[in-house]
């Protein structure tokens, strides 16, 4: 630890708190204020709009699917990356981080190029078999999975590395098969990392905007999600409703963060 003089300590604290306050705190507080500036009126208006409630339901549905898929594949890929040696491993590892550095809009466009029913590389084939990907739930789930891809993997990988494979080898030598080793040894060991990854990807999935705006087609009452409704209401001068929906999204995210911070200490004692 670096020893600082008392004034320097306070200066550093003020700087850190000020930075977070002006960047995050103040805007969120203002948003909350605006949402409740006329009591629950704008809230009620938003929730009585069928387009808004539908958009919230779509968001929740897409997010849950994306989180389930992302968790299964995330844990699987983390196991693959940590426990096995294979050619192309570093490429796979780099690809998993790609969504972090690429704008979601680009991801949306890329998915369109492959799966669009009209001009996509693969889309027409799928559509002729009755599977509409773009402007439909499958495409939206794919886009959400894509942006949330690294969150589970990057939580689980370091924990798997730290735990090592001694326990798994011991279980195998005691007669456990692959499924039993996974269920009884590996999963309990990475439990908290998975929970943390799930919460993070849920928060990320609920808030996804750019990729979804492109692949969903933003069809009001059909494929429009909550973040898209916020933008539409805001542009259509229904600002109070926009604030209300935005507040709901913020509230869910804060709840996610709260859950995580409650889990964290348990993780260190277990």
């Amino acid at each position: 630890m670096v020893e600082l003089s008392l004034p320097a300590k306070w200066a550093v604290r003020l700087l850190a708190i000020g930075y977070v306050f002006f960047l995050v705190g103040w805007p969120v507080i203002t948003l909350t204020q605006r949402t409740f500036s006329d009591g629950l009126a704008s809230f009620n208006a938003a929730l009585s709009d069928p387009d808004v409630t539908h958009a919230l339901l779509v968001t929740v549905e897409i997010s849950i699917w994306a989180v389930i898929i992302n968790t299964v594949f995330g844990v699987g890929m983390a196991l693959l990356l940590v426990r096995y040696q294979f050619p192309g491993k570093r490429v796979l590892s780099a690809l998993i981080d790609l969504p972090m550095s690429v704008s979601p809009v680009v991801i949306g466009l890329a998915l369109m190029l492959v799966y669009s029913g009209r001009y996509g590389w693969f889309g027409p084939t799928l559509e002729s078999h009755g599977l509409v990907v773009i402007f439909n739930s499958p495409g939206m789930i794919m886009a959400t999975c894509f942006v949330a891809l690294p969150l589970v993997v990057r939580e689980v990988v370091p924990v798997l590395e730290e735990v090592g494979d001694d326990q798994e080898q011991a279980a195998r030598s005691l007669g456990a098969n692959a499924v039993q080793v996974l269920r009884r040894i590996t999963l309990p060991a990475i439990k908290w990392a998975v929970v943390y990854g799930v919460v993070l990807s849920l928060a990320r999935s609920l808030g996804e905007f750019g990729a979804l705006k492109i692949v969903s087609g933003n069809l009001t009452g059909q494929t429009q999600t909550a973040p898209l409704v916020v933008e539409q209401k805001y542009n259509n001068f229904a600002q109070n409703e926009a604030y209300a929906v935005a507040f709901i999204l913020v509230a869910i995210s804060v709840l996610c963060i709260l859950v995580v911070s409650l889990l964290r200490p348990q993780e260190s004692t277990s």
């Binding site: 326990q167 011991a170 030598s173 005691l174 007669g175 456990a176 040894i185």
Partner: protein, 327 residues
């Protein structure tokens, strides 16, 4: 023979871990795989357990060809250097693991776990988590866990390597007694020659991926096959053209014995009951000699004194060869 290893080769990239290894490990005995770190002994143990696959060669356990068998089918107990405890399970659950995998009835599992915990003196810790145990206790729990499934062979990879000297000594004695009580064929890896000599019925000395010698502790100590085995099992010095142990050199004040070499005592140190001295021969060779304190006193040995050195009769010797000295 319980474990038969035939023509086993194993490489990790360019590194040759095992080179054409052939060895038979007898049933019901406690065998030590002894050798320096990186010599291939752990790799051999892991190949027996199925945790590692040999590039070529075969392994058979109790007459069954196990070369291509997965570890869970081999019915071997494996104990790891760092215990590999199941951290999220209680001590009793850890021991019960193999039995539950085998779908034994609850009553049977409970009975067997109780019996095993008693055997390893951990009965009062049954409901604790492994993190609440000391290193020695964890390793005893790991042993009980491995024994629970009544393995055909018990394999231990540097089982006491992570423990401090005192606990290591205790566990070593305890393992010997346990093996006398539960005579399952046991193979353990160690780089500590004292540990191997004290505990094992038979020692397999492995170095550079090859087996140097197989034999009882006594035969290895008394009749080492080569210079490596000799120097690995204890102190070695050179007198003339032979290499032998410092305590196998007799000291005399007169050149009475045939073939004795004259030398001057350069240094003399007393360590407890023994006296260690370094004598310089006329050819400039420095020879270490160990003798008892009473013998040194009887002769009145002092630094600078002229003595005559002779290999004692029946001493284990190997010819000194330059190429072997390099290794």
């Amino acid at each position: 023979m319980s474990i038969e290893i035939r023509n086993v080769n194993k490489r990790f990239g360019d590194f040759v871990a095992l080179e054409d290894v052939n060895v038979s490990l007898p049933t019901g005995q406690l065998t030590a795989l002894l050798g320096p770190s990186g010599g291939g002994k752990s790799t051999l143990l892991r190949i027996i357990a199925g945790l590692e696959k040999a590039d070529t060669g075969t392994v058979s356990i109790e007459g069954v060809d196990a070369t291509r068998m997965s570890p869970q089918k081999r019915n071997v107990g494996f104990v790891f250097q760092h215990y590999a405890v199941f951290k999220h399970m209680t001590v009793a659950k850890n021991v019960a693991f193999g039995l539950e995998i085998r779908r034994k009835s609850k009553g049977e599992v409970r009975e067997r776990v109780e019996e095993l915990l008693k055997l390893v003196h951990l009965s009062q810790f049954a409901d604790r988590l492994p993190s609440q145990l000391s290193g020695g206790q964890r390793q005893r729990m790991a042993l009980a866990r491995a024994l629970a499934v009544q393995p055909k062979v018990l394999l231990l990879d540097e089982p006491f390597g992570a423990l401090d000297a005192k606990v290591r000594k205790e566990l070593r004695d305890w393992l010997r007694r346990l093996h006398d009580e539960v005579p399952v064929t046991t193979v353990f890896v160690t780089h500590d020659q004292e540990e191997a000599m004290e505990v094992a019925d038979e020692i397999v000395v492995i170095n550079d991926g090859r087996i140097e010698q197989v034999g009882t502790p006594d035969s290895l100590y008394d009749k080492p096959a080569n210079d490596f085995v000799m120097s690995f099992l204890g102190e070695v010095t050179q007198l003339g053209e032979i290499r032998l142990r410092p305590h196998d050199i007799e000291i005399a004040l007169t050149p009475d014995l045939a073939g004795s070499t004259s030398a001057d005592i350069l240094r003399l140190t007393r360590v407890g009951f023994e006296v260690r001295l370094v004598a310089g021969t006329d050819e400039g060779q420095e020879v270490s000699v160990v003798t008892t304190r009473s013998h040194a006193r009887a002769l009145g040995l002092e630094e600078g004194e002229r003595v005559w050195l002779t290999p004692s009769s029946g001493a284990a010797t190997v010819p000194a060869m330059k190429s072997l000295l390099a290794g």
